[in-house]
Symmetry: D2
Subunit: 345 residues, 4 copies
Amino acid sequence: MFFASDNAGPAHPEVMQALMDANAGYAMPYGADVQMAEVTARIRDIFEAPEAAVFLVATGTAANALALATLCQPYQTVFCSPVAHINCDECNAPEFYTGGAKLTLVGDSHRMTPEALQTAIAGSSPSDVHVAQRGPVSITQVTECGGVYTLAELQALCRVAHDAGLPVHLDGARFTNALVALGCTPAEMSWRAGVNVVCFGGTKNGCPGVEAVIFFDPAHAREFELRRKRGAHLFSKHRYLSAQMLAYLTDDLWLRSARSANANAKRLADGLALKGAQFEHDPQANMIFARLTRAQHQAAHAAGARYYLNDGPLDTGHADTRLSARFVCDWSIQPQQIDAFLAAI
Amino acid sequence: MFFASDNAGPAHPEVMQALMDANAGYAMPYGADVQMAEVTARIRDIFEAPEAAVFLVATGTAANALALATLCQPYQTVFCSPVAHINCDECNAPEFYTGGAKLTLVGDSHRMTPEALQTAIAGSSPSDVHVAQRGPVSITQVTECGGVYTLAELQALCRVAHDAGLPVHLDGARFTNALVALGCTPAEMSWRAGVNVVCFGGTKNGCPGVEAVIFFDPAHAREFELRRKRGAHLFSKHRYLSAQMLAYLTDDLWLRSARSANANAKRLADGLALKGAQFEHDPQANMIFARLTRAQHQAAHAAGARYYLNDGPLDTGHADTRLSARFVCDWSIQPQQIDAFLAAI
Amino acid sequence: MFFASDNAGPAHPEVMQALMDANAGYAMPYGADVQMAEVTARIRDIFEAPEAAVFLVATGTAANALALATLCQPYQTVFCSPVAHINCDECNAPEFYTGGAKLTLVGDSHRMTPEALQTAIAGSSPSDVHVAQRGPVSITQVTECGGVYTLAELQALCRVAHDAGLPVHLDGARFTNALVALGCTPAEMSWRAGVNVVCFGGTKNGCPGVEAVIFFDPAHAREFELRRKRGAHLFSKHRYLSAQMLAYLTDDLWLRSARSANANAKRLADGLALKGAQFEHDPQANMIFARLTRAQHQAAHAAGARYYLNDGPLDTGHADTRLSARFVCDWSIQPQQIDAFLAAI
Amino acid sequence: MFFASDNAGPAHPEVMQALMDANAGYAMPYGADVQMAEVTARIRDIFEAPEAAVFLVATGTAANALALATLCQPYQTVFCSPVAHINCDECNAPEFYTGGAKLTLVGDSHRMTPEALQTAIAGSSPSDVHVAQRGPVSITQVTECGGVYTLAELQALCRVAHDAGLPVHLDGARFTNALVALGCTPAEMSWRAGVNVVCFGGTKNGCPGVEAVIFFDPAHAREFELRRKRGAHLFSKHRYLSAQMLAYLTDDLWLRSARSANANAKRLADGLALKGAQFEHDPQANMIFARLTRAQHQAAHAAGARYYLNDGPLDTGHADTRLSARFVCDWSIQPQQIDAFLAAI
């Protein structure tokens, strides 16, 4: 009954086995391993993007910060949601990697709208040398509040960006959870919608630590490579990154894992609804933000459940008071654990 | 017969097994895993430094750059050897992480001397606001040319630094190879000699990718932690770093691996001497820089040996011309491979 | 009838004469000129701060960015108003100089309140390594919308900052305009209220280009000095900065100039009120934000008046439609010009 | 008898008068002043470069650092002389402005040779992601040791740079002193020789503080402008920069001043030679590096002469011991002062 984060679950046994298998003999370092060539081919195939440049790093923050630094000049600003990971959870990594660019927060919602984006962009004039210049638009899919942009929504956001001449970055730490929720293709959810670079997450969906950065325009490749090295994110024994990603993309493991996580989240959401929970956001992938009574939280806690409580305290106060919590289902959680949790509350 | 780099060898099976063992159930993310607590305790014990702050990162460049950034202000300069990894092989990572500090190259040798260090430090006056201010001294042990500083040499370098009020960083990517070469204790080769922060390598000595940064003064801990996060080097599934380092420090694996590498390098050096090789540097750990004839290189190459040739071309030219090469022995190389190589040339 | 900006007016003849007077013979460069010693003594005296460290730079952005960089670590955030000059008008200079710190926008008003500041500070937890850490609070006095914080308001803001352990920066590009509006002493409007560093403007109040940065705690002096040099803001022929500031502080020129500007702004505001103008903000110093009819703007324009129109277009549309404009009075404007302008509309 | 620095002399009365003249009425801020348009036209004319982009800043360090930042990526290195101002006298400003680029020191002489430059460039391979990538070449004319590159030398250096695809920056803090020494045209000493951007100094040759940055390829203009603003080097009351530069370029003041300085330096050098001085470098413009006896220095000092003594101490030691000193002649020094100095020693 661990719902704290998909960062905390184990890696999938198939990924671990691939790590073991990769551990034979010598391999060329720094990305010249044979597995990396396979990873690139696989991702190009999956994304229907035969020219795409593909790079691996070990953390989602590295993927985001390096991708943005490649797209953004230090005198520009990145347009993002106020709750974006790049704004709230990366301790200024984007500012660091871009050399001091700014983040402009778009609207006041966790879900970016084309109108809010248009307004934010219009707020800075490219002819005015005093203001931060317009830089890339960053979209998070799945959002930090568990929502999934539809293809039409993604397209509309990208259109606003492109109309202003701005590139689009997709923070896809939970890319596959969104993909299976929408039931579309990776191409549709990325370059066909107008996305220029995708951070394609593996870590939250069953890998020990690997993210792919995918530039659909390979002109960015060399700069990214140099920034990755300069950022100390180029692995010498790179095969251990490649092996993770390769296993992740083999036999649909990425899709199987995300489907399982999403299905269990749905099972949990349905059960919570029956228990009277109030949802703060519509749960569309593998994260649920809901308000339960203090009594329910106390029962869950007593039964061993673990998750983040946004309100507090748990221990003292009226039993009927509702406290907000986040529940995340990772690939490894089982229906029995969902049911046990629901039974407990 | 792979002598290209200790970056290219496999990980030790005991480390890989530890990764598998760590992959059970949920674990607290971002360094709060139980293995990390053990790693810290183990390192404090090994270094006889009960207060030391210990952090793990995945690459040696990250360890160096983050450690230096914590010690160095952007208006200062780092004193290092002209051949230091931080100067030659990190694509400006130290300059990036320090926010634009400079590297001052000490002397013109791969081996820093107290006299050259003294001269370099004296070259910048702390009262002069126009010059880069004096910052940390960085020493590499094993040096990039395969040498090992004696304890007396380390102490003398640290004394020069401390007399000028400067802290000392030790790039210990091959710390253990130096340690077993000297036959001393980790404390003697670090804080007892005057070193303030050690980058303690695991990757080149049998781990997939892990380095420990050890501050003997824990006052630096919080800043390092924030810089690590901001640099995107804090792993969410941190247990996979901890498990590597823990296995590395278990049952003397770190020492066994380094002893094996050094012993095989000695076997190789002794054999090369018999074959008439000219040594460019005295091989003191697991790296050999030697000049063989073109004919010898051609024979080695034909037999399947792999290593970096610093001169060229291999194919055309007089058979007796000597070409310089680097041979590195990693933990996994076997005496039979050494012997086969020697037989081939 | 030039109300576009106090950046566009001439320098005061007394300042220009001082520049001429300073231009005799040789003078020690880089701030070692005799005039600078006098400037420091004068500012310490005026601010009743005998220990203060005083530095001169040529632009307000340099003063702000360097002062903030001295107070703020790159993994921290600066708390400021959404309309602060450091956020809107410096093209990421604070992000650049701090090495990639963030700006956290406090509330949604041009006037920072203690409550909004408290909320903003509470939004980031010092124990959370993932978020930008709390850094300095930056207050603008006169605000970008022409308001002046009372001493009680300043004290309350500083108290919130200090209670969280945060230092306070005052962007005083129009410090003297605020001072004469409040009728208080410089000490009361700075360190006695809790301000730690003041950027004390000269440029907008009659100097060609000079701003003083005043640290009440001299412990920051050396770092600021090095950052100023590294930022290329240390003048070799520094006497031409000193001479400006010295003349500015001689015979109350700074006070005379600000009083004149404020008095003319009041004359203008009173006149505008009679003409039916709607004020967007209460004009408290030398800036007025008011809505006039298109017909009034057209008449003013035809009469040769110059100022920024925030709405548009001027030429086409209903004559009665109100358009927002900013009117700034500099030290050099004369009552006759005010009256001529009022007559024109 | 002030030979300490051309930074310490007064400004030329014609420049000061121009400042006074510019101080009438209102002027558009931030470089939109009418004088700036004249400056641009004048410089384009003088340099026979009708497309050149021209910008003014107040310090030579700002000119150099901003120009280099525009040409250099943060993962690149700038090739320069070990004694270059950008390396020795700017407290890491180039590293700061470039976002952490490196400086690679070319050769071990104050005078860069094409061979040494070729060797330095060859030392870093563009295909190697681990090393700092090749960036701009920076040449100082007049060198820091008082030498002047011939046109043939400049051309040869630029050819080496361009053959490697690298742009060339000219630090021309003493551009005009070199120009009159060579007796060539500005075009010949810049773009015709292969220079891509010139920092054209005014401060050391009779202005209070102004330097022009001249890009012969205007494609760099917008980026430079944004970097200047972000670096806090865009003056609001910009007319006071423009007026200086305009006066400097009027009636050949720039040439007259440099000719006077050079002529007096020659008079001084000739006199020193007669007095038995040993020259450390051949004095080719307005700087002399010479060794006089301690007795001579003592006599000079007693007579009131001021200059930098590189050796010491002055007071104690053998009277015949030679001590090294730097003598700089600025525009304002007079033959009588030279003669008085020579008489004193």
